[in-house]
């Protein structure tokens, strides 16, 4: 449903993307993780037709976004910034979006009512956007992005700045969309968000995808156990066996916790942090287990 092949983009000789390829199937949620400046926003801007790549192809529902502007009708986007008209009402914002996507008046009204219902904002249609909270504005943006029934939805950090409760509500909405068959491309800085929602995750570093897989496989690739220095002075070490992690922790000066690995560990490892192999300490010493904060097999 979404397919990108060898996307490349430079800004004044500074490469932002260096050959990025991925595909997202209908009903799949693909999370795209990377540090600031890795190329996440550039990717999403290319895939929503906001920026032209230097080379590569970008397809949505089989249509080439770069050659066929009408292909944008198959794309929905929820930007990181709240880009609603604050002075206008919720209904007016949705109506303008429907007009931009060539929807008839009847269909605009039907779809606006339907989507405001789905995001639980039916009673706020006539409220000016500036009177809504951040969480409600984000819901309006989701309703707006979906009212023209796109095949692909791009979410650029959709829960940034929202409190945990609202974030969970947005997650539930995203899961509903996924179940309805929309291909979803998500960028986020919240690793737990990707872990909770994504079917597959890609790690992006310096304009290149360094790993793509299911969250489970990405975690397993670094080992089941992490020994983490609680002071943050030493990098985390990852182990397949808990006993090895405990032994490694025992070698350290103290303040080392052993716990099951997470997607965040896999991400940090992909970004060049942490070590996959135990250091010389493990070979030199053998002793009792150090501090343990988490136990039990995963």
């Amino acid at each position: 449903m979404i397919a990108a092949a060898d996307l490349r983009k430079s800004y004044k000789d500074q490469p932002a993307l260096r050959g990025v390829s991925f595909s997202v199937a209908s009903g799949e949620l693909y999370a795209y993780l990377g540090p600031n400046g890795a190329g996440k926003t550039t990717t999403i801007r290319i895939m929503t037709g906001l920026t032209r790549p230097d080379s590569g192809t970008a397809l949505v529902a089989g249509r080439d976004l770069l050659r066929d502007p009408k292909a944008k009708a198959g794309v929905g986007m929820v930007a990181q910034t709240i880009n609603l008209d604050m002075e206008l009402t919720v209904a007016e914002n949705l109506d303008i979006h429907g007009r931009l996507f060539g929807m008839s008046r009847t269909r605009r009204r039907e779809k606006a009512a339907e989507w405001l219902g789905r995001v639980e904002l039916s009673g706020r249609a006539d409220s000016q956007v500036k009177t809504l909270s951040g969480g409600l504005r984000r819901r309006v943006m989701i309703a707006r992005a979906l009212m023209h029934e796109p095949a692909a939805l791009f979410l650029d950090e959709p829960t940034v700045g929202l409190d945990a409760d609202i974030r969970r509500q947005i997650w539930a909405l995203i899961k509903d969309l996924q179940a309805s068959g929309v291909a979803i491309f998500l960028t986020t800085h919240y690793i737990e968000e990707a872990e909770a929602l994504a079917d597959r995750v890609a790690f992006l570093r310096d304009g290149l995808i360094t790993a793509t897989d299911t969250p489970r496989n990405l975690i397993e690739a670094i080992g089941a156990w992490a020994a983490v220095d609680l002071t943050g002075k030493s990098p985390a070490a990852f182990f397949q066996e808990r006993a090895d992690a405990m032994a490694h922790a025992a070698c350290q000066a103290g303040g080392v916790a052993v716990r099951p690995t997470s997607l965040e560990d896999a991400y940090l490892r992909a970004m060049g942090s942490g070590v996959l192999e135990p250091d010389a300490c493990l070979e030199a010493k053998a002793g009792p287990a150090a501090t343990t904060t988490s136990g039990g097999a995963r």
């Binding site: 929503t48 037709g49 906001l50 920026t51 032209r52 502007p69 009408k70 292909a71 944008k72 009708a73 794309v75 986007m77 930007a79 910034t81 880009n83 609603l84 008209d85 604050m86 002075e87 206008l88 007016e92 303008i96 979006h97 007009r99 931009l100 996507f101 060539g102």
Partner: protein, 245 residues
């Protein structure tokens, strides 16, 4: 393309309706001050070009105010582009850059005509002797068309609000004072008098002023305003397309 342009235009009109009185008051304050100060206080008994100074000044204010309001689209677009990021909503839709520009220019023309209507109302209330026939409005419309196109083009070039303010200070404000609003440009000294004929506002002021006095407007004025407006429209379309690169 028309459907997309109408969507953009509809959004601008919705905002205009929402701002209502605030917007109209903003359109009226400066010209009212100019009109009261120069037209009524200073020029009550003065004559210019064979008419009262108030009758001379009024079409100049129409040209200036329609220019200002049409050009204010540049600030609106800048705010929507850099602050609210609503510009991305347009660019991510299937309407295309040409439709976007056309919609914004149509909105600029509407603002220009509304600003002209405010001056006409003001002149009527003050009992100024002038005619606001079809050619008068054609002049105001072509003037707004040119400056709305220029506004969209400039909005695609500037990078910050500060750039926008600088451009307004160095281009639009001098034009407002030198483009035949307050005095006949022939009164300027030699080279300056020749130079101001390169300003579009000079031609707009002249066309609107002649029409307001019921005198014939040379075809060249219409051709210049329409041609320059069309060039700005095409330039704006080209620059908007470039924003995506």
């Amino acid at each position: 393309m028309i459907q997309g342009a109408l969507a953009v235009y509809y959004r601008e009109m919705a905002l205009m309706r929402r701002r209502g009185f605030r917007l109209l008051a903003g359109m009226a304050v400066s010209p009212l001050l100019y009109f009261v100060t120069f037209g009524q206080a200073v020029g009550r008994t003065a004559q210019m070009d064979g008419v009262s100074y108030a009758a001379f000044l009024l079409p100049g204010l129409v040209a200036m105010n329609s220019m200002m309001q049409a050009y204010s689209m540049a600030s609106e677009i800048n705010i929507s582009r850099f602050y609210f990021r609503i510009f991305d909503e347009f660019m991510a839709s299937p309407i295309g850059p040409a439709a976007y520009v056309l919609g914004e220019v149509m909105a600029g023309v509407t603002r220009g005509l509304a600003a002209s209507a405010v001056i006409v109302l003001m002149g009527t209330l003050f009992g100024v002797d002038f005619q606001a026939g079809p050619l008068f409005w054609l002049g105001a419309m072509l003037n707004a068309f040119f400056f709305a196109g220029l506004a969209v083009a400039m909005a695609m070039v500037v990078r910050t609000h500060q750039d926008q303010a600088t451009l307004t200070n160095f281009v639009i404000t001098p034009m407002a004072f030198l483009g035949g609003t307050f005095f006949p440009v022939e009164k300027l000294p030699g080279l300056a008098a020749a130079a101001v004929w390169f300003l579009p506002l000079t031609h707009a002021s002249r066309a609107i002023r002649l029409a307001s006095q019921g005198r014939p407007v040379p075809y060249v004025e219409w051709a210049l305003l329409a041609g320059a407006g069309l060039l700005c429209l095409l330039l704006a379309m080209r620059l908007t397309r470039r924003v995506q690169d």
